[in-house]
Structures are given as structure tokens and as C-alpha cells.
């Protein structure tokens, strides 16, 4: 049939039908592509590029390379064993002088300070004093100005600066750092917090996801089985919080949960507790508020899947002799799994990035990784650390998504 059709078309205008069909198909594809092109471009410009740049920042740092060019050049052939020779010190003196006149000593000090706490003020004062040095030998003069220039670990740090690529930020993000000889060592306990915080982020996200599933499943079932009129009204109530600002909703929880708030007052009036319970500025407050905010995100995908399950399936199971629980567990529940996975995954991934809710209703021990990203961006001005933490969070999220996709057949996950 097909060959005949092709032959016939070929006779008509010498272009085989297959080619014609291909042409039409190609044109259709092109048109479809042109339609999604603006969105693709938008995503590329507004999402992929900034995130790529951010991840690049986590390993790229040319502060020392650009601000101390002479020292970096002099250090390129230093073997890293003893202190470097006079030429490196002369280069350092020149760089410090330049840093003083161009007022970049602060930036140099700040960068060195990340790895050597306290270095900032030493660098600043050295630059001021070095600006008055005119003749060598610089080695003794600089060590006299400030003993840090006689420390091996300072020169190791400078040597690491000769490369614009650094693993420092990524190492710090998992509680490692460079030692005196540029070897990798574990961070001192007063700085080692990030592994805990990543674990905490996962812990809170899992708790909230489970809580929304437990609370959301029965409501979704109710919504899916009630008559349309009632279920629409209920659905509206589920959606209502979406139309209110996240900030307002979180603050509302502060009013409810605080020491003399509504919840405590009611519990005390009912004589269930004698002392106000601590419900806010701790883990309880964080999980309650986050669960509330995430509930619709978990509920709606489950609801949309339940809507498609024919009630006759459970009836059939019952009529064949299954008990109510057995019918639910063996027939109904497996059919809702795609919705449960979609809703749970959506909530879990959104939870990983939570920032404002833990900040408002959590205590210091409930802050998740985003809090530290924001802190490093806005307050500490350490964009390398912010990028490194962000990059790790993103990688972990993608990895979890991948593993999840492998575990649950990805085709069965329906988003809404």
C-alpha cells in the first residue's frame, strides 16, 4: 500500500510522497519549536545561565590572582617547602604597596581571612606599613612588620591563590578545609556545622512531606468522592491559602503558637496543660507551619489522580468478597500511588529550599541550608560559600530526584 502510494504521488509531480510527508512533518516540528522558543530562551537566560554562573562561582575565585599579580607570578615556581626567597617577598611588598594606594588591601585581607581567621586586620596593617618601605631586603622587613609573613601556612594559602580555581568553598561546605601544607583536613569543631545542617534540611523536609501525606490523603479522598457541589466548595477552601502572602500566613502561625497565643490559651483553658507549651521558635513550630504551607502542593496531585479512579473498581472488589480495608489497600491505594509520589516529591523538593518560614517560626537550630546561602550572600558577602552551598543543595536535589525516578517508574508520576 505504502509503496503504491509513493509511486502514485511520484508520478504526479515527481516528488515522492514520503519526502512530502517528511517536509510537512519537519515544518510542523519547526513551528512547534518556534512556539516554545521564547520560553526556552527565557529559561536559558533567566534560569540556566544564572545557575550555571552561580555554580561556577563555587569553584572560581581570582581575588588573589588579580589583586596580587606580582606575588602570584613569583610563587609559581615555589616548591612549597621552606619560606619563599627574597624575590617573592619583594613582589609581596610591591603588591601590598599597590593594594594600599588602590585601597584593595581590604579585599585581599577578606579573602585570606576566610581561610585564616584574623588575617584581615594583619593584611590591612601590613599594607599600611609596607607602603612606607622603599628599599630591601624585603624578607626581614616584612616579617618584622608582621610575623604572619613568616608563617608557612600564609604562604601555602598565597600559593593556592595562584590558581583561579579553588576547592576551598566546596570543602568548607562539607566541613573540610586546607591545612598548613595545603593538605585537606577536617574543619575545627567550632566551624564544622554544614554536614549537620544538610542532614537537618533533609530531616525537616522528610518530616514535612510525611506529615502532608498523612493529612492530605484523607482530604484528597474526601474531595474526590463528595458530590461536585460540596467538593468544589472544599477545594476552594484548600486553595484559599494560595491567594494570601506566604509571609502573612507564616506570621499568623506566630500569633497562634506563641507563649500566650491562641493554641496555648485553649489548651490551658481546657486544663490539658498547666504551663504554656513551647510551640514556636523551635522544631515544632517549623514543621507545623511548613506542613500547613505545603499541604495543597501534596494534596492536589493526589486529588487529581483520585478523580480518575473509577468508584466501580472498589465496588467490584467488594462484590467479589474483599473486606473494606482489603479492597482499599489492594485496589484503591495502588492506583493513587502516582499522585502520592508526585505530591510527595513536589513537597519534598520545595521543602529543601525553605528559608523564610524557619527564619520566622523556627529557632537557630531549625535553620536550613537556604538560610546560610542567604546569610553568606547578604551579610557575610562571601559569595563563594553561598554558591558552594547552593551548588551542593542543587546537586543533592537532582540526585534524589534521579534516584526517586529510578525507584518509582517515572512515567507513573503525574504532575497534577
Amino acid at each position: 500500500m505504502a509503496t503504491m502510494a509513493v509511486q502514485m504521488a511520484g508520478k504526479a509531480d515527481r516528488v515522492p510522497l514520503r519526502t512530502k510527508l517528511q517536509r510537512v512533518e519537519r515544518r510542523r516540528k519547526l513551528r512547534a519549536f518556534a512556539l516554545v522558543l521564547p520560553l526556552l530562551l527565557f529559561i536559558l537566560v533567566a534560569f540556566v545561565m544564572p545557575i550555571g554562573r552561580m555554580m561556577f562561582n563555587a569553584v572560581y575565585d581570582d581575588t588573589l590572582l588579580t589583586l596580587m599579580p606580582r606575588t602570584m607570578a613569583a610563587l609559581s615556581d615555589w616548591d612549597g617547602k621552606d619560606l619563599p626567597g627574597e624575590s617573592a617577598y619583594a613582589a609581596l611588598a610591591e603588591d601590598l604597596k599597590q593594594a594600599w594606594t588602590q585601597r584593595t588591601a581590604g579585599a585581599i585581607g577578606k579573602r585570606m581571612n576566610y581561610e585564616l581567621p584574623g588575617a584581615r586586620s594583619e593584611v590591612m596593617s601590613s599594607a599600611r606599613k609596607a607602603s612606607m618601605l622603599s628599599v630591601g631586603p624585603y624578607k626581614t622587613a616584612l616579617i618584622e612588620i608582621n610575623p604572619i609573613w613568616g608563617q608557612h601556612e600564609v604562604w601555602s594559602l598565597l600559593k593556592r591563590g595562584t590558581s583561579a580555581h579553588t576547592a576551598y568553598y566546596l570543602l568548607r561546605s562539607v566541613d573540610y578545609q586546607y591545612g598548613a601544607d595545603s593538605e585537606i583536613v577536617t574543619a575545627p569543631p567550632e566551624n564544622a556545622i554544614f554536614r549537620d545542617i544538610f542532614m537537618r534540611t533533609l530531616e525537616i523536609s522528610v518530616s514535612v512531606t510525611l506529615a502532608t501525606l498523612i493529612l492530605g490523603f484523607p482530604v484528597a479522598h474526601l474531595l474526590a468522592t463528595l458530590p461536585l457541589k460540596t467538593s468544589n466548595l472544599l477545594l476552594m477552601m484548600v486553595m484559599l491559602p494560595f491567594w494570601t502572602s506566604l509571609l502573612v500566613r507564616t506570621t499568623a502561625w506566630a500569633v497562634l503558637l506563641q507563649q500566650h497565643g491562641v493554641v496555648n490559651d485553649v489548651l490551658m483553658a481546657l486544663h490539658l496543660i498547666s504551663q504554656p507549651a513551647e510551640l514556636i521558635y523551635n522544631r515544632v513550630g517549623t514543621i507545623v507551619a511548613m506542613t500547613y504551607i505545603q499541604l495543597p502542593f501534596t494534596l492536589l496531585p493526589i486529588y487529581s489522580v483520585m478523580k480518575t479512579i473509577s468508584p466501580s473498581l472498589v465496588s467490584a472488589a467488594r462484590s467479589l468478597g474483599a473486606g473494606p480495608f482489603y479492597a482499599f489497600w489492594k485496589v484503591y491505594f495502588p492506583l493513587t500511588l502516582p499522585g502520592i509520589s508526585a505530591g510527595g516529591l513536589l513537597t519534598f523538593i520545595l521543602c529543601l529550599g525553605y528559608y523564610i518560614t524557619p527564619a520566622l517560626v523556627g529557632g537557630p537550630r531549625d535553620q536550613m541550608i537556604s538560610y546560610f546561602v542567604a546569610r553568606y550572600t547578604n551579610e557575610e558577602l562571601n559569595w563563594g560559600m553561598a554558591s558552594a552551598l547552593g551548588a551542593i543543595l542543587l546537586t543533592v536535589t537532582l540526585l534524589l530526584y534521579y534516584v526517586f525516578g529510578k525507584l518509582v517508574d517515572a512515567d507513573r508520576v503525574k504532575m497534577g
Partner: protein, 354 residues
Amino acid sequence: MRKSLIIANALAMTGLAIVILAQAEPAFAGDQLTITSFGGAAQMSERKAYFEPFAKKTGIKITEGEYNGEVAKIRAMVDSKSVSWDVVKTDATTAAQMCAEGIIERIDWKRLGLDRSKFVEGDDNDCAVPDDFYATVLAYDKIKLSNGPKTLADLFDTQKFPGKRGLLRSPFGNLEWALIADGVPVKDVYKILGTPQGVDRAFKKLDTIKKDVIWWQTGAQAPQLLADGQVVMTSGWNGRIYDAIKNSGKSFEFVWATQELGWNSWVIPKGTSRLDEAYKFIAFAASPAQQADKTRYIAYGPTNKDAIPHVDPAILPWLPNAPDNMHNALLIDAHFWSDKGDDLRQRFTAWIAK
């Protein structure tokens, strides 16, 4: 054809978007100035005492901005050479840090026409002109706590004063308080805090109340925590507490003996195109008459010594730098925080997250 139509449409939309975006940029004009401050009651007082009279006097139009004191924003502007804020109000410790980093203009006091010796820490103001004093004080509600705390030792005494305490979520001010409460004389605080042992000692003292602290982050949170009964006492900025007493009828009480005196300054981000107007504004705002006038709107003290005689005697007792409030006051060491702030903040962040 249809495809080309779509592309043409897309191009037209992009073009339109660019035109709209371009128009959103303010047109350049010489006679205007963008001033950014902390917003809220503080900025309101500046508007009344500085911005409006200045605009009236000089015809320079003032556009206001608000921020939370983040150096990041100023640094981003300076680094990208797109400075849109001409004058910024900032904390003295931040000003010292920005001066050292070279992202704000050095102040030419002659050009300003002001005597720098009349201002707080006159010698240190290379890049900043002080505007107002604010105090960090311990405050409590005298209705709920008739026999309130008198000293910083009381802040750390959970036997005598059970319940939660509010403190700023920052090492700033808290480390000093911890040392004073631990028996360090006020005049030696920064000397001791400058040593690693001193820092350990301060954190150890803070450890004793760590589980009893609710940490606040914005100025308005402190009086709110107190009003809600969430805390029995809290640190707070005197202007905010005063505002709650004066305008919301709260029965809060200051413990002036715990005062830490800090100040805010005007700075000019490096590379502004309106340097002349910026100087004109700062000279106007830092003048004695204007600084004294501002105390009518907020209880922050003038930093220009010549302004004190012009202050209404009824307001004076509420100002942090009124002589009666200054017994035992600790003057914040801007240089200490500019130097050591990064390390201490980092340690504090780790300490509090554990």
C-alpha cells in the same frame, strides 16, 4: 506565513519589553538625589527633618530608597559601576568596613564645611559623617515585672528572672554584654574581647543562657516579643522601645545602665555621578539645627556636639547620649567590629546553629 508571523510577534514583544524596561530607568537629571536609609520610623524622621526641608531649600528632588544595611547591595553597585544610591545611611561599624574595602568615597571635610572634631570619634571619620546615636539597651515590661532587672548580671540570672530573654541574632553587642556581666569593667571590654581567651570567655557566658534566648533580627521584633509576653526582658534599640512606649502606650522600662552606644553615619558610595549634591545634602543634614530638629521625630541623639543645646529639654532625657543616660555606657568600637566582625560573626553563626 504563520511561522514568520509568530517570529515577528515574538520579536515585537521582546522589543516592547526592552522599551518598557528602558523607560523604568530613571531619567538622568542633575537636580536630584537618591538617598537610602533603614525605612520605618527612622526614615520618617529623616524625611521630616532632612529630606523635605532640603528639597525645599535647594530645589533638589530627593528620591528615597530603603534597605536593611546590607553592604552587599552597595558593593554590588560599586563593583558593577552602576551606582544609583548617592547617599546612604549606615551603621558606623559597616561604614568603617566599607571604608577599608574602598567602596565608599573619602569625605573631604573642608568641602563639606563642617568641623570634624565636633563629631563623635572625629579622627576616625575618613569616609563617613555621623548622623545619630542609638542605644542598645535592656528593656522589660514593668507591669509584668514590677521589680525588673537592674544590671546585665540580671540578664544572665535565670534563677532570679526565669523565662525567655530576647537578644539580637548577632554577636554584635551580645559579646560585650556577656563580658560585662562576667565582671569585666566597661572600659576594658574591647581590650579583653580582642584576645582569643576573651572571645572564648564571652561565648562561655552566653552558653549559660543559650537555651533561654529567643533571637530577634529586626528592630521591630524586640518590642513585639516583649509586648506578646514571649520574653521577660529583651535587648532593643532605644528608638523602637521608646516608640512602643510613646505611640503604643506600652509600659516598657529601659535599663540605661546597660546601654551600648552606637551611631549611624552618612556615606557616599564610590562612583556616584551626583557627588556635589551629595555633599550639599550631608552638609545640610549634619548641621546643628537640622540634627536637633530630628530629635522631635525620633529618640535618637544628635552626633554633632553643637546640636545638643538646640534639643528640646523635654526630649533630652530620652536620648541615648543625654548625660544622665551615659553612666556606665559602653561606646561601640567601630574599628574593632570592622576588623574582627567577620570572624566573630562566623563563629557566632556556627555557635548558634549547634
